[in-house]
């Protein structure tokens, strides 16, 4: 309770401090270079000066925290990746050489590659199918809400939900995990799914697909509605059937959106950490880069050099998408 009061007080202080900064600096600026009620060259000079300074007052706090929390760390991580575990002695590319010779790292890269291959594709595929199907029925919005819901659930919460589904009891006793119960019902033998090397990756991926399909569905459903009616009507008149219209008229017009959904989920996959930590913590050959990085950050008191080197690899994988995004944004701004 005390803590909550502390939180509310600090929150108020933070918000008031912020507000005080913006109001205060603007007030000072207006006092130093008054332009209201003045005329002539002084007023226009002051107006020019305030107009030049004010954007930076507005941007100040944001630029400051972006620099501290994102720009500086990116540079520092690269620097640290070239240094030893405490970040003191320069070791050149040793961390990277170690990495590529490390079996666990190679396992992680391999698994991450599987994740990148399956999760964005599956989530986009299901999202597209559901968006197309729900568009045609009267209770489509209810269905969409329910499929969208896992989006709000934390990765850890989702992991508990799915760990319960994958729960394993010895053969012959009643299974309380849904998956094993179904398998037994159809005459199979129950398995401890998350401990099966290679296949356990897919059981973990299901969790992320379950969460992300809603996201893909929402975006693609909006894109579907944005398709001009005329193109569809023209196809109907030409005698195209439903499937032809979907694949030959609608999908080609949605490539841009599909790419956006795909890349967004791709980035998420590269960062996925909570699911692996909660489900297996990298055991049974299910390690991924983000969890390996976290592991090295604290393992044996923490090896910052190796941790940073793994982070740099994740960053390198993201860079192509980053460039593509910036290009798109720039193109759009020219259009404005």
């Amino acid at each position: 309770m005390q803590q909550l009061i502390f939180a509310i007080a600090t929150m108020a202080a933070g918000v008031l401090g912020c507000a005080a900064y913006f109001f205060g600096t603007n007030w000072i600026l207006d006092k130093l270079f008054p332009s209201k009620g003045l005329t002539g060259p002084v007023a226009s000079r002051n107006l020019r000066i305030t107009n030049a300074i004010r954007p930076w007052l507005f941007l100040g706090p944001a630029l400051f925290s972006l620099t501290i929390y994102l720009i500086y760390p990116v540079i520092a991580s690269v620097w640290l990746s070239l240094h030893d575990r405490a970040g003191e002695n320069f070791v050149g590319l040793n961390n990277f050489i170690w990495m590529f010779n490390d079996g666990e790292f190679r396992q992680s890269i391999y698994n991450n590659f599987l994740w990148l291959l399956v999760v964005p594709a599956a989530a986009t595929f299901f999202g597209l199918i559901i968006a197309a199907l729900t568009d045609r029925i009267w209770w489509g919005n209810i269905a969409k809400t329910l499929i969208f819901m896992p989006m709000a659930i934390s990765f850890v919460g989702a992991s508990v939900i799915w760990k319960f589904i994958y729960d394993y009891r010895a053969e012959g006793t009643a299974q309380i995990g849904l998956l094993n119960a179904v398998v037994v019902y159809f005459g199979g033998t129950p398995e401890a799914w998350v401990t099966l090397p290679f296949w356990n990756n897919f059981f973990l991926m299901v969790i992320l697909i379950w969460i992300q399909t809603g996201f893909a569905m929402v975006i693609l459903s909006a894109a579907l509605r944005g398709i001009p009616e005329e193109t569809i009507e023209a196809a109907v008149i030409d005698g195209a059937n439903g499937l032809q219209i979907f694949f030959k008229i609608m999908i080609p017009q949605m490539w841009g959106t599909i790419a956006v959904v795909w890349t967004t989920i791709t980035i998420l996959v590269l960062k996925v950490f909570d699911i692996v930590l909660a489900m297996t913590n990298g055991q049974w050959q299910s390690q991924v880069l983000a969890n390996l990085m976290f592991d090295w950050m604290f393992r044996g008191g923490g090896d910052f050099g190796r941790g940073a080197a793994i982070a740099v690899i994740i960053m390198v994988l993201v860079i192509p998408i980053m460039i593509w995004n910036i290009r798109n944004a720039a193109k759009e701004m020219e259009g404005h």
Binding site: R54, L70, V74, G140
Partner: protein, 381 residues
């Protein structure tokens, strides 16, 4: 739209959507139902059987021979295996290998002239011609049909014993300030990037778009070092709530600035120009016109940021301590997965408490969430 309502295809569509919806909601439903079940039933039967009477093989122990009473020249130990309820015993036995050797009500000879009988209401009676020795009671194996039982006991248990209650408050302490503080900072920056003219504006926008996708992992180690350094320099702990609020702000800002800038850039130019003609400064325009008009975008971002900070595990594990008054819900849940991995009554109830707040936010404010998603990703991001 395409398939007309008369087509039989419509039924295929209906059925497949129902199937998909069931697939997507069943996992969460299983969790909710399980968290409300009696913990003994939860451990032995699937949640889909929650409504049917379950048959369980149980072991009980009769009262110790100290409590025997003499009746009609015989020594009797009596009691009840079932503590109330509507359960029914169907069979019993006294050897572990034959736990169901006798039907309820039958008389079992357990040697030395002693007999044991268990009735279907769970009452048992051991009758012996001589005084019984020993200090431990006879073990009795029995099969009982137990009617479905739903209870909030699991929730009571996790709120108190498992520390979920304390963590709930910790999560609120992290999430609320980490949602509100960035909004103000981002809104001012977004306005500057959308409507003010200054050199380097388009480069800054490009930088913000680039930072949108920087993996968190890049920031962790340098910031951890920085926090340790600052903590040692100022003589304060390195892991504090203020530290995590600022971290969440830094990580949330690119999306916040991007969303708000896109929204503000779409507002009609005429409003601002007429205000400027009236002599309003950029500051007045922002506070009095832009900020109120941007409410939908502000709402979208705050929902994102709240869900993200509430659901976050990584940032909390690195920048916040693990004490009882600092461990957040997601962190507590991971710890429980390790320490109480087999206790599904603890895990399901804890998990449901961690997801209930985001679910409430989701169902009440879904409109803004969808709008934010569309603004955040369809436009180039």
């Amino acid at each position: 739209m395409i398939a007309s309502s008369r087509s039989p295809l419509v039924w295929v569509v209906h059925i497949s959507v129902i199937l998909l919806v069931v697939l997507w909601t069943l996992p969460t439903a299983g969790l909710l139902i399980s968290s409300l079940r009696d913990k003994d039933q939860l451990a032995v039967s699937g949640w889909w059987t929650a409504l049917s009477t379950s048959s369980q093989n149980l072991t009980g122990r009769a009262a110790s021979p100290d409590e025997q009473v003499e009746r009609d020249g015989k020594f009797v130990i009596a009691g009840n295996l079932l503590e109330g309820g509507d359960s029914k015993v169907s069979a019993f036995g006294f050897r572990p290998l034959q736990p169901t050797a006798f039907e309820a009500g039958a008389l079992a000879d357990i040697g030395d002239g002693q007999t044991l009988t268990v009735k279907d209401d769970g009452s048992y009676e051991i009758v012996s011609p001589t005084r019984m020795e020993g200090s431990r009671g006879q073990r009795i194996f029995y099969t009982a049909a137990i009617p479905p039982r739903f209870t909030f006991d699991n929730y009571r248990e996790v709120m108190r014993a498992a520390g979920i209650g304390a963590s709930f408050i910790n999560s609120l302490t992290v999430a609320i300030p980490a949602t509100i503080i960035p909004i103000l900072v981002a809104a001012f920056a977004a306005y500057a990037l959308a409507w003010m003219k200054f050199p380097g504006r388009s480069i800054l926008i490009a930088v913000v778009v680039g930072l949108l996708v920087v993996p968190l992992q890049m920031s962790l180690i340098p910031l951890l070092k920085l926090y340790n350094g600052v903590g040692a320099f100022l003589g304060v702990p390195a892991k504090t709530y203020v530290g995590i609020w600022l971290a969440h702000m830094g990580f949330g800002l690119p999306l916040a600035i991007y969303l708000l800038r896109n929204y503000m850039a779409g507002l009609p130019r005429e409003i601002m120009e007429s205000a400027r003609v009236d002599g309003a400064s950029d500051f007045d325009i922002f506070i009095k016109i832009i900020l109120p008009l941007s409410f939908p975008a502000l709402a979208s971002f705050s929902i994102f940021q709240f869900l993200w900070t509430w659901n976050d595990l990584l940032v909390a594990m690195v920048f916040l301590g693990t004490g009882n008054n600092e461990l957040v819900l997601t962190g507590r849940l991971v710890n429980l997965l390790g320490s109480r991995g087999g206790n599904w009554e603890i895990l399901t109830a804890s998990a449901f408490i961690t997801i209930i707040v985001p679910l409430i936010v989701f169902f009440t404010l879904q409109r803004y969430l969808v709008r934010g998603l569309l603004a955040g990703s369809v436009k180039g991001g």
